[in-house]
Structures are given as structure tokens and as C-alpha cells.
């Protein structure tokens, strides 16, 4: 709730201060929407927080479903069960479940598919990024699931899961750096994530992880998962983040970070040098960049789950020029219920996963 209030306030400020005049001139993009997903009788989507497609058009949905459960250990609490990964054909026909009962599936956040059709999930409950091969077997893991949950106010000491609080110290985590403490949100250099949110790759295959709610940084790894560097801390200055929530990389290797709590998209080069920011598209909960010679950036100013304000998606050039927008918050088909991830493998064919509507929509944009 604190987050939504914060978002509301922040977006109000931005709307009033910057973008009202700009918005008046933004053309509306016509579009159609369908819910393509056809599930077997005994399966249901929960919150459709993650959606991605592969090169064949197969659709992957990473969803918060089931009954998130905590089991009680001796002065410890173990968490599981609020994430499942489903695969569908382009027609929406159910193919299979991947990673059933996986150790790293605790609280879903996003799924992405790389150029080789490997499937990557980011789980903010297990603090893990997991790479599956196209056949659905685990190829690589990043980060480690804490051995036990931190229970705020419980016997395991302070620390909060919520935004705005200090990063909780995960149980069983070692290797804290010596010397002066790093800036808040910079995290511990390395692979230990704190509620990570998204993953992306440059053309060389280097891996970038948005990390996330607890930390406020972007971490870079080589293609084999070896840590290279990270940048960012909590704050509002260029290069700082307040919930880096979504991540995309263009063909030149520039890194676009949806800095949701700061209502902006920040652009960096692959070494983390700040290049520019776009502050006129609301709170970017989800961004994606189309492939091909002419790339476009889509950004969703998603409505918080507690309101029906905003909800529109912007189409932009990579340098930040707004080409158009479409959509509003709502529960009907073609309306959006807190879009949490977008897939834009094509300029005119987008998939959106919605938190509150428990569904994926396939959007077909008309015109150019």
C-alpha cells in the first residue's frame, strides 16, 4: 500500500509538472486484444506477472498461483508454492508445465526468453534467476534461495520485505565486504539478489539482472554467470533507482531500466554509464524493445492494483520520442489490470501479462 500511495503521489507530480502538455499531442494507437490462453480444466492462472514468447511464438506465462505456503521449522519459516511456469502454443493451446515444484519457484516476478530460446525466470521470493533450456531443463541458476524466510518482527531479527525499508540480511548469506558500508541499495557485489525483478542480455550474451526491490542496482554477469560489476543505489539521482522493475537492452547494447518508483526510464551503456532518461511516460512497470533493424521501445504506465488510474502503454523510439499510446485500466478485454510484463517480439504484436486480471492478452496494433 505504501508503494501504491507513493506511486500515485509521484505520478501526480510528474503529470502536473512535466508531461501534461506532451500528452495532449500523443496520438492514440488503435489495437485489438484477445485472451489467447486455453488452459486444461484443472489449471488456472493466478496473477499473470510474467509473459514471454520464443522464436516459434510459443507463449510462456510465469504466474503467481496456488496457495503460497509457509511451513514452520525450528525458529524458521520456509516458503514455497506461489509460482508456476506454463507453456502454450502460439494458438494458446496448453503445452506443458515447466519446473513443477521447483525449489526456486517461490514468488513469481518475470519470465524472458533469450535469442537461443532459453527460458529465464526471475523469482523475487527465492531471490533467484533460473535459466532453462528450450526443453525446459535447468541450465543455470543465479543467486540462492535463502534457507529461511525473514519474518519482520519475528525471532529472526529486523528487516522488511517491503519497499522503502533497509535490505534484509538474508539468512545463510556470507561474504560481506570489508570497509565502509556501501550506499543503501548498492547490495553486496556479486550474485546475491534481494527481490530481483528482471533479466536481459546484450548481443554478446552478457547477463543483466535488475535487483530489484531490496537492492536498487543493476548487476552484470558474463554469459556463463560470472559476476562482472553492478551499478546503482537507492535514490533519485541519475544512476540511482527506486525499484528498478523492468529491463530491456537494444541491439547496440544500451540498457533501459524501468525505474518505476522514480517514474522514469534510465538508459545506460553496457558498463553502467548513465546516458539519458525519459520522464514523461509515467511509472514504467514493464518495458520491452522490439527486435529487427528498426527497434521500438514500449513502456507501460500500469495502474496500481488498488486503483484504475493510468494503465496506458507508450510506443517510443529508442531515443525517447513518443510515437503513440494505447489502453486504459479496467477489467474488460482490451483493458489492462496492472500490466506487469510485456513481450514485443514484433512491433505490432504484443503480449501483456496482468496482475489483477489474472490473464494474458495478445494485442495487435494497427497502423504504424
Amino acid at each position: 500500500m505504501k508503494r501504491s500511495l507513493q506511486l500515485l503521489l509521484a505520478s501526480t507530480v510528474v503529470l502536473l509538472g512535466v508531461s501534461v502538455s506532451a500528452q495532449l499531442t500523443i496520438p492514440e494507437i488503435a489495437y485489438d486484444a484477445v485472451d489467447p490462453i486455453k488452459l486444461p480444466d484443472n489449471l488456472y492462472l493466478g496473477e499473470a506477472v510474467g509473459v514471454a514468447t520464443n522464436s516459434k511464438g510459443n507463449i510462456y506465462v510465469y504466474t503467481r498461483t496456488g496457495n503460497p505456503a509457509a511451513t514452520l521449522g525450528t525458529r524458521r519459516t520456509f516458503a514455497r508454492n506461489a509460482a508456476r511456469l506454463f507453456e502454450f502454443e502460439p494458438s494458446g493451446k496448453f503445452v506443458r508445465e515447466i519446473g513443477q515444484d521447483l525449489y526456486g519457484f517461490v514468488f513469481a516476478h518475470t519470465v524472458r526468453v533469450d535469442r537461443q530460446d532459453n527460458i529465464w525466470v526471475v523469482d523475487e521470493g527465492s531471490n533467484m534467476v533460473i535459466k532453462f533450456d528450450p526443453a525446459g531443463r535447468v541450465l543455470m541458476t543465479m543467486g540462492r534461495k535463502p534457507e529461511a524466510l525473514i519474518v519482520p518482527g519475528g525471532t529472526q531479527g529486523a528487516g522488511g520485505g517491503g519497499e522503502g525499508g533497509p535490505a534484509p540480511a538474508a539468512a545463510g548469506r556470507g561474504g560481506a565486504a570489508q570497509g565502509p558500508p556501501p550506499p543503501v541499495g548498492a547490495g553486496v557485489p556479486g550474485d546475491n539478489f534481494n527481490r530481483p525483478t528482471d533479466v536481459a542480455w546484450d548481443t554478446a550474451g552478457n547477463i543483466y539482472v535488475a535487483d530489484g526491490y531490496g537492492n536498487s542496482r543493476i548487476a552484470k554477469f558474463d554469459k556463463n554467470g560470472k559476476y562482472l560489476k553492478s551499478w546503482g543505489s537507492r535514490g533519485t539521482a541519475p544512476g540511482q533507482f527506486n525499484i528498478p522493475h523492468t529491463l530491456a537492452i537494444d541491439a547496440q547494447g544500451f540498457v533501459y531500466v524501468g525505474d518505476r518508483g522514480n517514474n522514469r526510464i534510465q538508459v545506460f551503456d553496457g558498463e553502467g554509464t548513465f546516458k539519458r532518461q525519459y520522464v514523461n511516460v509515467g511509472a514504467p512497470s514493464a518495458i520491452c524493445i522490439t527486435p529487427g533493424p528498426q527497434q521500438y521501445l514500449y513502456a507501460s504506465n500500469s495502474n496500481p492494483s488498488t486503483s484504475m488510474d493510468n494503465g496506458e502503454i507508450y510506443k517510443m523510439t529508442l531515443d525517447g520520442r513518443i510515437l503513440g499510446k494505447f489502453g486504459t485500466a479496467g477489467k474488460l478485454i482490451k483493458e489492462f489490470g496492472s500490466v506487469h510484463e510485456m513481450d514485443c517480439r514484433s512491433e505490432t504484436e504484443l503480449y501483456v501479462g496482468e496482475i489483477t486480471n489474472w490473464r494474458v492478452q495478445k494485442l495487435t496494433l494497427k497502423g504504424k
Binding site: 488452459l39 493466478g46 496473477e47 496456488g66 496457495n67 517461490v106 514468488f107 521470493g125 488498488t306 489474472w358
Partner: protein, 350 residues
């Protein structure tokens, strides 16, 4: 995940508190002495469950236009079962659903859509007649946000967030009314597409105030009947949520239901307390049949565990006013109740 623990802890605290304080025996409903008895019988062995399926607490019950029966039960998991009109098991709906944690109500609308209200996930979920999710309202708290101390003050009510909601109903235009609930003391009106229109109610005993709006139903004119349980009254509002009447003579309304058709009846259950304590059960447990204007026609039922007795009725389906389905918390069952023609008042006994 941690929410579940929180809930257990909360429930434990509440139970402790309840048993520690002097157990108040509720007074008889004022209409009890004069309301004629309506003869009735319960159909034996009505619901037929497969060997591997059990009901837990019979929290919600509703029928669709074909007479199929939906039971929303607090079982190992909260589960939603469908039976045909003869009580034969048809299927389970929503297995493992993210919106199922602590069942509270199920209702079927005029288009045979099935609506569940879950006070554990704070969600209202609309299924189409085939059992697929059409719309969700409210949002399950994020497990990742962790355990909330049980002493945390209740946050202010918000348009799109419930706090232990209890029930849902609709006016003839399809506007949605949610009773919300244990922690918020209000009724919230949405349009048929789930957009917030207005909300009334705060906690208290004055008109428009509520103390656990526990059940809600509507008549053909779109009047909304709110079972204000702890205030032991039914508040009747028009569909703009303007108060029209208060009925305070039928005890604590745990469950209310209005039958369809040209002559509508209001049923209200003055259920016995849900702690399964037979001492407390002695002064409640009956269901009242009323005219919509509040006139009591009669009563039936008594507390107990046997067939035809009621063990804390939590929901009533009255699609047929002479043939009710009632679900009970502590007996873990639903009964089919046949109401018989009322004898002349002079011959009523007891």
C-alpha cells in the same frame, strides 16, 4: 505464504479471547415467541461425495438455474465443488486457485456465473458457467510482503481492496455489491465491469454503520439487504445505497437469501454460535421466512447436529422458496430442506 501463519495466529488469538471472556448467551430473537413454526424435513443423504472427497466447513452454497449446487468449503484447501440437482458430484472448480484460501461465500448470478468470496485472499472471483475465471476483484496480499503483526491497525478502506470480505450480490442492472466485511464495515458498489461507484458504512451501531456485514442479497427492485450480524439487524438499502428500512427482530442474521419469482421471500438465519458449543446453541439456530417488508411469516429449524437440525448455518440458497439448501459451519455439510405447507396458526405447537 506467511499470511497463512498470520491467519492462524490471529485465529488462535481470537479463539483464546473468546473463551477467556465470559461467554455471552445471546438473547432470543424478539420474533421467536410469536413466529409460527413452519413444518419441514431434511432430505437424507442428499449430497453424494466421491470416496476421496470430503467437505470441510460448509461455508457457501448456491444453486444455478439448472438446480446444480455449488458448495464452497473450508477443507484442507478451500475448495469449490459442483453437484447436480440430485446431489451427485459433478466436478471441482478452481483447484489450487490463487484466490482460494479461506472460503466465505459463493453466489450464482442471473447468468449462471459463479462468484466466490474468500476472506483469506480478500478476493471476489467471478467464474463463467464453465468454471473459468472471468473477473477478479480485490487482490490477495503479496506473500512477499511478509508477516504483518496481528496488532497492526486496520488500514483505511480503499475502493479496490477488501479486508476479509464476506458476500456479494447484484441489482437487476448487474451492479455488484460486496459486503466487506470483518475488518472494513461497509458495502461497496461497483458497476458490472468492476469499476468502483460508491461505498457506505463504518463500524458502529448507528443506521448506515455496521458490525460485520456478513451476508448480502438483493430483491427484484434492486434493494440491497445487508445482514449486519453483530448488530443483530438487517439493513435494507436501495440500489443507490440509501437506507430504507431496518429489521431487528430476527436475531443475528448470519445468512440472508431472497427467493426469485413474482412473490419474493426473505430468509434469514439466526444461526447458533460457531464454536460448536451446545450450551450456547440453545437460544438460536432457527431460520425466519419473511416478506420483503419485514413481516415475519414463520420460522423453522433448531440447533443440533442431527439431520434436520442446524449447526451454525452459514449460507442459504432459496432459488426455490419451498426447497432450500443450507450449508453449516460446524456440521461440515449441506442439507436440502423441504418446507411444508404451514398449518393454521391455532394448531401450531411448542
Amino acid at each position: 505464504m506467511k499470511r497463512f501463519v498470520q491467519f492462524l495466529l490471529t485465529a488462535a488469538a481470537v479463539m483464546l479471547a473468546a473463551t477467556a471472556s465470559a461467554q455471552p448467551v445471546p438473547p432470543r430473537a424478539t420474533a421467536y415467541a410469536t413466529a409460527p413454526d413452519i413444518p419441514y424435513e431434511s432430505v437424507p443423504n442428499f449430497l453424494k461425495l466421491p470416496p476421496n472427497i470430503y467437505l470441510g466447513e460448509g461455508i457457501g452454497v448456491a444453486r444455478n438455474s439448472k438446480g446444480h449446487i455449488f458448495i464452497f468449503t473450508r477443507s484442507g484447501d478451500t475448495r469449490l465443488f459442483q453437484f447436480d440437482q440430485n446431489g451427485n458430484f459433478v466436478r471441482e472448480i478452481g483447484q489450487g486457485l490463487y484466490g482460494f484460501e479461506m472460503a466465505h461465500g459463493v453466489r450464482v448470478d442471473a447468468q449462471d456465473n459463479i462468484w466466490t468470496v474468500d476472506e483469506g485472499t480478500n478476493m471476489v472471483v467471478k467464474f463463467n458457467p464453465e468454471g473459468r475465471v472471468l473477473m477478479t476483484m480485490g487482490r490477495r496480499p503479496e506473500a512477499i510482503e511478509g508477516l504483518e503483526p496481528t496488532a497492526t491497525p486496520v488500514p483505511p478502506a480503499e475502493p479496490y481492496r477488501f479486508n476479509r470480505p464476506t458476500d456479494v450480490t447484484w441489482d437487476p442492472q448487474g451492479n455488484i455489491f460486496v459486503a466487506d466485511g470483518y475488518f472494513n464495515s461497509r458495502v461497496v458498489k461497483y458497476d458490472k465491469n468492476g469499476r468502483f461507484i460508491k461505498s457506505i458504512g463504518t463500524r458502529g451501531t448507528e443506521p448506515y454503520q455496521m458490525n460485520i456485514p456478513h451476508s448480502i442479497t438483493a430483491d427484484a427492485q434492486g434493494n440491497i439487504y445487508v445482514a449486519d450480524r453483530q448488530n443483530r439487524r438487517i439493513q435494507v438499502f436501495d440500489s443507490n445505497l440509501v437506507l430504507r428500512a431496518i429489521y431487528d427482530n430476527v436475531g443475528a442474521p448470519w445468512a440472508v437469501c431472497i427467493s426469485p419469482g413474482p412473490h419474493q421471500y426473505l430468509f434469514s438465519s439466526n444461526s447458533n454460535p460457531d464454536n460448536n458449543n451446545s450450551l450456547l446453541a440453545a437460544v438460536s439456530g432457527e431460520i425466519y421466512k419473511m416478506e420483503l417488508d419485514g413481516t415475519v411469516i414463520g420460522k423453522f429449524g433448531k440447533p443440533g447436529k442431527q439431520l434436520g437440525e442446524f449447526a451454525t448455518v452459514h449460507a442459504i440458497d432459496c432459488r426455490n422458496p419451498d426447497e432450500l439448501i443450507v450449508s453449516e459451519i460446524t456440521a461440515w455439510r449441506a442439507q436440502k430442506i423441504i418446507l411444508k405447507a404451514q398449518p393454521p396458526r391455532s394448531s401450531s405447537t411448542k
